[in-house]
Symmetry: C2
Subunit: 290 residues, 2 copies
């Protein structure tokens, strides 16, 4: 059973009949996950928007063959002269690492500066000195959700590569300059955040129920083993997680990714092991103990 | 005669026999300008790098058809296990608006964190508390030059679109998060900066010499008219420019771009006019006065 960083978005039922922007991932893969697996009815991507309105980010022109290969028609065009008829986005979900940071930043920024999420409009409240946060994000703009906070991840390149967190901090720099230092409101899912570990524990409990039926249904999971390569996300999340059911979580750090052998991990795990296989063996043995 | 924002790079002779990274623009257009027009001998683009080493930024995979259409072989591969044999970049020039912010940010960041500009290496000085700027950019990394500071420009979309300055502030946010708040050293060309106006004046004086020979060669240009749509770059630059030759500059703001009629420009021009044509007529008439 795979739980991906965006899986917790599946539970955000309040947006299932609204129009949501799904950002990140290759082609329309995340859009299809949102529609077909999570049940969101109106899912728009930045690629759909730029294909219908190329002038929203003229510099994506060179990537237009890519966007045209999967773009779908928009439910409404961008037509700010009649604000009630322009495309309105009700929530922004960053599912996976953005591929086109310029386009995705532009569209997220447009939405966060818009009036009520209507693309092509500008909120008249932006910059008002008498309003909270100088009027920014005070005009029913769509909320912004990130699925994964990791700044770095271990890839095949010799040095760690920027993750979704890289896009997030770059967008924060843009927001800071554009607004003159206003606060940027967003919600973070993903490790090391409590919400994601709660979600994982619910999934594990549902899996136990499927395997064993009602037997022990309300007991806590006796032990949960978090195996990961990233001290700041995997290990910190497991160490700091407070299980609502009182389950005991242990953190197993492996040497095959972000963490490099011989260094001191920024967050101390229960144990450091060679790789995931060794982690599973360790967990099986540990769980056999009383 | 056109002077583009990157034209002042033509005078940076100290890098002409070194290896430079040229960032921004469609395809290899800026690379060709740097080589064929400005005389830089070794010019590498992020597209060349990612085509040879796709794992340097795995998320550009979806744009690989674009990069393969113009990428040229690298002078050296990225091979950090033998640092003297890995590709070394001596200066970074952002010529034009980056198209692929993720790739371009990654490669600029890699270079600014490297040892001596060698791709694939990390400077051991990064983060050293005893060094200036906590060791960042203290290890002969390549200098970073931007050609254009504009955060916004007027495009065909109803709202202004992010310019090269948008990339710059996003990269600054990334740098801030990665380094924990170290200063980012860079040099800015372009309006409203003195260097760019000096460059324009040199070009105008050379043009006068071509037209009129030695006659009046050392006289100042009596009047120079700066016609532009952007109060913060075009107009501020002309107003604040101090001509080394004592030329008198006047600033003409037009209504066909960033500045919107009826608003108060953030920097007051000599005169506000309808468009460039009216600006030229105004300048011709004004220059006929004593």
């Amino acid at each position: 059973m795979f739980v991906q960083s965006h899986t917790p978005f599946a539970e955000m039922h309040e947006y299932k009949d609204k129009t949501v922007l799904v950002v990140g991932g290759d082609y329309d893969k995340c859009q299809l996950v949102a529609k077909d697996h999570y049940g969101f009815q109106n899912v728009v991507t930045p690629g759909d928007i730029v294909s219908a309105h190329p002038d929203i980010w003229p510099f994506s022109k060179v990537f237009m063959d890519y966007y045209k290969s999967f773009a779908k028609p928009l439910p409404k065009p961008i037509n700010p002269s009649t604000p009630s008829e322009t495309l309105k986005i009700d929530a922004i979900f960053v599912y996976n690492d953005p591929r086109d940071w310029g386009l995705d930043s532009t569209i997220i920024l447009d939405l966060l500066l818009s009036s009520r999420g209507r693309l092509g409009t500008l909120s008249p409240q932006n910059g008002s000195p008498t309003l909270p946060n100088r009027g920014y994000q005070q005009d029913a703009q769509p909320p912004l959700y990130y699925s994964n906070p990791d700044l770095w991840w271990a890839a095949s390149h010799p040095l760690p590569r920027l993750g979704q967190g890289g896009f997030r901090v770059a967008f924060a720099g843009l927001w800071d300059a554009v607004t003159g230092g206003a606060k940027l409101e967003y919600t973070m899912f993903g490790k090391p955040h409590q919400l994601t570990y709660e979600f994982a524990e619910r999934r594990l409990r549902a899996h136990r129920k499927m395997l064993f039926g009602q037997r022990g249904l309300n007991d806590p999971l006796r032990r949960v083993y978090m195996v990961g390569d990233n001290p700041e996300s995997d290990i910190r999340g497991a160490n700091e997680y407070k299980s609502p059911h009182g389950s005991l979580w242990r953190s197993l750090l492996v040497k095959t990714g972000v963490y490099r052998e011989g260094t001191v991990p920024s967050c101390e795990p229960t144990v450091i092991l060679k790789d995931v296989g060794e982690g599973v063996r360790w967990a099986v043995e540990d769980s056999g103990k009383s």
